[in-house]
């Protein structure tokens, strides 16, 4: 399946679009484009962080109590898994730069595997919350937090929790699809020292998903 070192024999401009002068220019443009996209992602998640900050500072005690209902152990395990997937992704970029086809495929596969495990653990956490009724504001049904004016403030915490982790999970799914696409292409032997842009840009995206989680984990699980 793995086309060893095919990059050395491929036609020089196979992946260079006609409107770029040099491969270097195309690489720089793609990378800048990806960073601009990451900027939009930072702002996209940024909105949720604003909502988080507003409700946490208005009701610190609610957040403190509600965070106890999350499973810190599972959150920490998921953090380690995502960090590991970031390592394998960074390594995949290294492999593609060096033309190591086997290493590239292995690293990408490990990354996808870690992402799926992350989602599995997330699913376990979600199902616990579902069974205990620890859901978002309108569905929250557990009488153990401060209740004000006919609704439960803890529901607000879980609204934020589900919005943030849910959006993050959607990004994980998109990341799996993107890495899967890169994996397919690497099985075909598309990448080598002078063409690894998709590995690099998808890698950047994956690291950003990791970055978001680095902030989500302490802000949601470790209040206390």
């Amino acid at each position: 399946m793995i086309a060893e070192a095919s990059s050395a024999t491929q036609a020089p401009s196979r992946f260079r679009a006609h409107h770029f002068e040099t491969a270097e220019q195309q690489y720089a443009a793609s990378k800048l484009g990806m960073w601009l996209f990451l900027v939009t992602e930072v702002l996209f998640f940024g909105g949720l962080f604003v909502a988080y900050a507003v409700f946490r500072t208005l009701h610190p005690e609610v957040f403190m109590n509600s965070a106890q209902l999350l499973d810190t152990r599972l959150g920490a395990i998921n953090t380690v898994i995502l960090l590991f997937s970031s390592l394998t992704m960074a390594w995949a970029v290294r492999c593609s730069q060096l033309g190591q086809q086997r290493g590239l495929v292995i690293c990408l596969s490990l990354t996808i595997f870690a992402a799926i495990v992350f989602l599995g653990i997330k699913g376990v956490e979600y199902s616990h919350k579902w069974h205990e009724g620890h859901l978002w504001a309108s569905q929250y049904s557990s009488g153990d937090a401060a209740s004000v004016g006919g609704f439960d403030r803890a529901g607000t915490f879980f609204s934020i929790y589900f919005a943030m982790t849910g959006l993050h999970a959607i990004h994980i799914v998109a990341g799996i699809a993107a890495i899967g696409w890169v994996l397919m292409r690497s099985l075909r032997g598309d990448f080598g020292p002078n063409y690894f842009t998709p590995v690099d840009t998808v890698g950047l995206y994956w690291h950003l998903v990791d970055l978001v989680w680095i902030f989500l984990f302490p802000l949601l699980y470790l209040i206390g």
């Binding site: 793609s30 900027v39 996209f44 940024g46 507003v54 504001a137 309108s138 403030r153």
Partner: protein
């Protein structure tokens, strides 16, 4: 640009024999058939398709505007019931904002012109460019589908908690706007990457045409602000579908937080609408005064300053809902935006001073822009000042103000730019006399419609109301009559452009004598934009061109000849 890599443009295999006879194939004729348009990666074709899309939306929004104005002829019911009226003004606002103004200049004109202006073959990411067009189409379908479902009666701002409780089709509309946001982001990313990485050697930042500066500044806002709208609408949809209670006070949420979210995007979005317009005006004023633009660097900096300051003033839409402290701060910051805007106005006026002004159609629109934008900008100061805003908030004064800026500003510049680049886009000259007439009609009709609304607002007529007291009727009637004059002006404008496509004189490569690179190539350009790689020159060296009276083309002045020829006006 290197001169070695690409072979010169060759004829594609499948061409009709008719087109091979005289001239090289243009991007319009090189390939035929619907598929060659739908799957094209050519920025010029994508720009033209965008143009068709946004003009269709403009027509739709315009008809709604006329219906709204007709309804307001009399107090109480005139041609529709109150509920229909609410739907009508909401869709007018949403369509005009999200489907027309925001993509109008960047996505249609910018897409066409930007790569040509830097002498490139295409934008950095052509496939993403096409994707942005299709996202626009899908977004438009979702937004317009709301009309066919249960309508939309929230106002274009989708304020909570009304938008989470009304039974109209908020989800379809907001999904549409969410998708349109992605379309806008893709355009922005593409433009920034193109400007950063694809400028030719010799075109430094401060040798870029001002239209590129303004598109660049616009793209920064598109990339930074639009995602916040995305997350806002996602939360709104989640609120409606699942009741997550972020914005709904009944569930512990905060409706003012929605306003913060919404305006954090939508105020900068106002600059997405006006900045590219300002770029067009800089080009037009310089070209048709036949003078170097005055204060080039200040125009560059002021574009970026407007883009950045635009992020600091969102709270001035919320004077009546935010805290007193925030209102005071935002009011003060709001005035700071008038500084770069003022710099632009004064630089344009200084460019006109002692210029050799020719009142071509684009120039008429540019001059109208300056007048109307100054009106819009100055009335904005009344709204930015807290004390007067308490009286004017949510009245027709606000409606008149933003129509002066958005329509008097952006639309005028858009049409001016359309007339300016029309010969380049389609290779046809239009009728100058009727072009100017359309400008006159639009200018008169516009003021006729919206100036009375300033008066209505100061008298206390609230916006968005179906019914009103009899004392307001006189001004409402005047405004409605003006709207129809405005409509006639726009119809003339459309007729002039459509007529030129069939009967227009063939356009020379450089009918206006401009030094920016898009005029170096044929009109319309070939598929890969340039037969020969153009040299980077000073974009405002208008002295370097002389008019060839027989062909109507401006040609580069041969070296050694310095006498400045009197610029002749292009004949109709």
């Amino acid at each position: 640009m290197s001169t070695t890599t690409e072979p010169k443009h060759r004829l594609p295999q499948f061409i009709s024999p008719r087109s091979t006879t005289e001239q090289p194939l243009s991007y319009l004729t090189a390939e035929r058939g619907i598929r060659s348009w739908l799957f094209t990666l050519d920025h010029k074709r994508i720009g033209v398709m965008y143009l068709i899309g946004i003009l269709t939306s403009f027509l739709m929004g315009g008809v709604m505007a006329l219906l709204v104005r007709t309804e307001l002829l009399t107090p109480g019911p005139t041609i529709m019931d109150a509920d229909t009226y609410n739907h009508m003004f909401t869709l007018h606002g949403a369509i005009m904002t999200f489907l027309f103004i925001i993509p109008s200049i960047p996505a249609a004109l910018g897409n066409f012109v930007l790569p040509l202006m830097i002498g490139a073959k295409d934008v950095a990411f052509p496939r993403m460019n096409l994707a942005s067009l299709y996202l626009w189409v899908f977004g438009a379908v979702f937004l317009v589908a709301a009309m066919g479902l249960n309508g939309l009666d929230t106002g274009w701002t989708f304020y909570t908690p009304y938008s989470t409780t009304t039974n109209s089709s908020v989800i379809s509309a907001t999904m549409g706007v969410f998708i349109l946001g992605f379309s806008s982001i893709f355009t922005g990313i593409n433009f920034i990457a193109t400007v950063h990485t694809m400028r030719p050697k010799g075109m430094t930042w401060f040798r870029m045409p001002l239209f590129l500066w303004s598109l660049y500044a616009t793209a920064i806002i598109q990339v930074l602000a639009t995602p916040v709208l995305g997350i806002t609408l996602m939360l709104l949809i989640a609120e409606r579908v699942a009741g997550i209670g972020i914005f709904d006070p009944a569930l512990g949420g905060d409706p003012v937080l929605y306003q913060h979210f919404f305006w954090f995007y939508s105020h900068p979005a106002v600059y997405i609408m006006i900045l590219p317009a300002m770029g067009i005006i800089s080009e037009l004023i310089s070209t048709f005064s036949r003078t170097r633009i005055f204060g080039y660097r200040f125009l560059c900096y002021s574009s970026v300053a407007i883009a950045l300051l635009g992020f600091l003033v969102w709270g001035h839409h919320m004077f009546t809902s935010e805290s007193a402290m925030a209102a005071v701060i935002f009011s003060a910051l709001t005035f700071s935006v008038s500084i770069p805007s003022g710099i632009k106005i004064f630089n344009w006026l200084a460019t006109l001073y002692k210029g050799s002004i020719s009142l071509t159609t684009p120039m008429c629109f540019a001059l109208s822009f300056i007048v109307l934008f100054a009106f819009g900008g100055l009335t904005g100061l009344f709204l930015g000042a807290l004390a007067t805003d308490v009286h004017l908030h949510d009245t027709y004064f606000v409606v008149a103000h933003f129509h002066y800026v958005m329509m008097g500003g952006t639309l005028m510049a858009f049409i001016g730019g359309l007339f300016y680049w029309w010969p380049k886009m389609f290779g046809k000259m239009y009728n100058e006399f009727w072009g100017r007439m359309s400008c006159l009609g639009i200018f008169v009709g516009f003021n006729w419609t919206f100036f009375p609304q300033f008066l209505l607002g100061t008298k206390g007529m609230a916006r968005r109301y179906y019914n009103y007291k009899p004392e307001f009727q006189g001004l409402h009637v005047v405004s409605t009559l003006g709207a129809f004059v405005l409509g006639v002006g726009l119809v003339i404008c459309a007729a002039v452009l459509v007529h030129s496509l069939f009967r227009g004189r063939k356009a020379p490569p450089n009918p206006w004598g401009v030094a920016t690179m898009e005029w170096e190539t044929t009109s319309p350009p070939p598929v890969h934009n340039f037969e020969d790689t153009p040299k980077v020159t000073d974009p405002y060296d208008l002295e370097g061109f002389v008019l060839n009276e027989t062909s109507g083309n401006y040609e580069r002045r041969p070296a050694g000849i310095t006498s400045s020829q009197k610029p002749s006006e292009v004949k109709a």
